[in-house]
Amino acid sequence: MSDTAETLATIAHFVSEAPPGELSEVLNDIRGLVNNDELLQEGIVKPFAEYNINSLLVIRSESGEKLIVSKHNQIEDGRFVDFKSKQSFVVDHVAQALSDPQPFEVNAEVADHRAALESSVEAYTQDHYPNGDSAVFAGEGRSLVIVIVNNKFNPSNFWNGRWISEWTVALDSDLVSGELKAHVHYYEDGNVQLKTVKHINTQLSSISSDPIEFASAVVKTILKAETEYQLAVNVTYGQISDTTFKSLRRALPITRTKLDWNSVANYKIGAELSNK
């Protein structure tokens, strides 16, 4: 049996690799294998926090509040801000629950731009990520961070997927930088996973101090970049299929017929293959 430190490291690693929508199944497996609930409860606190932050966990409270957990809206250990409702909450990462709401004052300098951008991003998200969630946070200085997350869980058909967009913009700057990630897991009779990461640096086509014009310009830029990326992913699929996959194993030998196993002993490799 491994020692405690090693077990805790293993727990943390396994949690971090849980595919979208399968955190509880992974936890269930770990629980049975570790066979020490006390150690497990202690060991999953930090890994769950990291997992939730990395996967932009969306928590809905009973009273209708919604919070997206991200590294960009964490104000202190365990406390996250919902800018829209001007509140912060304590997040229980294991129970995935909100508690102890406190009022939060949004930086007045960026408040109008943030609100306008959030509205535009919400409309954009509804258009392109049905059932997705988005939020806009005030970042450092006069920067704003946009997060979009879209989960699609279909365990009865053995697949799950998640898309994440994170964009950073700033008032009176035309620089836009973002990171797009997709993770798909297909597991009928196997384990197949798609993971993509794309870093983007681009610019707004126009700068405006007006919040609504600013919001519109940002969303226009994001729309263009994300659409281009999605198209590029599809093109890449085609390329990988036509080149890398084919060069690993042919569909049929160059003879265009299956192997004659009765006379395989007679195959003179040199002679056959010199006709390539």
Binding site: S2, E17, H128, Y129, K152, S247, A251, I269
Partner: protein, 263 residues
């Protein structure tokens, strides 16, 4: 009610990243202890390691089936590397069959994979008329471009001889990793494995019939699996990815949603 740690392990390995099978398996083995180690190592498929036979200079593949202690048996020389005083060897009859199988699959490998490495290992079982084997093929595409890929075939076959016929049970796994990293697209990683099974009853005239029979059922299996892999990798995962984000504004979906919520 306790669940078997073996089943939990297999379920876990179905979900963790296929790129990290080897290291995750090590973590798992440390977690569950030595009792389960052998069972896990033979049940979980990992990308195959390759090595050079010190006697013949030919490349061969290493897996749990040709391992004894920390040494691996080369299918070409039939010797262990590093040498073992009394390592496990197939019987004389099986070794003869093993040599023929290795030669045959060497041809198969060249015709379908145009490169790569293959190895076949056979062993007797406790049952008198039953022997088993594993047919391994590995091809790696590691050229200078931004595309890397690797294909590992692991076919485990159990053969029950019944006079003039034999019953073949085949369990095949293909591990396929495709990694793409070009400037415009960022990183795109498509990795995974797939397992299928098949059973056949086929006539045997002599021992060599086994090579042809096993050859045919594996060739058919790989044909099916290559098609399925293509469908899943380039069809299914792509469809799901495109489902996560719709290229056009989803006005229609919104309208339907609004209509439905108007009850």
């Amino acid at each position: 009610m306790e669940v078997d740690p073996f089943d939990l392990s297999l379920d876990l390995m179905r979900r963790l990243s296929p790129q990290n099978t080897a290291s995750n398996l090590q973590r798992l083995v440390k977690l569950v202890g030595p009792d389960l180690e052998d069972e896990l190592l033979s049940a979980v498929d990992q990308p195959l390691q390759q090595a050079k036979c010190p006697v013949t200079g030919r490349d061969y593949l290493r897996c749990d089936y040709n391992r004894d202690e920390q040494s691996y048996r080369s299918p070409w020389s039939n010797e262990y590397d590093p040498p073992l005083a009394d390592g496990t060897h197939p019987s004389t009859r099986l070794r003869k069959l093993e040599v023929a199988a290795n030669d045959a699959f060497d041809v198969y490998r060249e015709l379908y994979y145009e490169g790569g490495i293959s190895s076949v290992y056979l062993w007797d079982t406790d049952e008198k008329d039953v022997f088993a084997g594993v047919i391994l093929i590995k091809k790696v595409n590691n050229n200078e471009t931004a595309d890397n890929g690797s294909w590992d075939s692991i076919h485990v076959v159990e053969v029950q001889e019944k006079g003039r016929a034999a019953h073949y049970k085949l369990t095949s796994t293909v591990i396929l990793q495709l990694l793409h990293g070009k400037q415009e697209i960022g990183e795109l990683n498509l990795s995974g494995n797939m397992t299928r099974q098949a059973e056949h009853d086929l006539p045997i005239e002599d021992q060599n019939s086994h090579v042809a029979n096993i050859g045919r059922i594996i060739e058919d299996m790989e044909l099916k699996m290559r098609n399925s892999l293509h469908e899943i990798y380039f069809g299914k995962t792509k469809d799901i990815a495109n489902d996560l984000r719709s290229k056009q504004a989803n006005i229609q979906a919104e309208l339907v949603g609004k209509l439905l919520s108007r009850k």
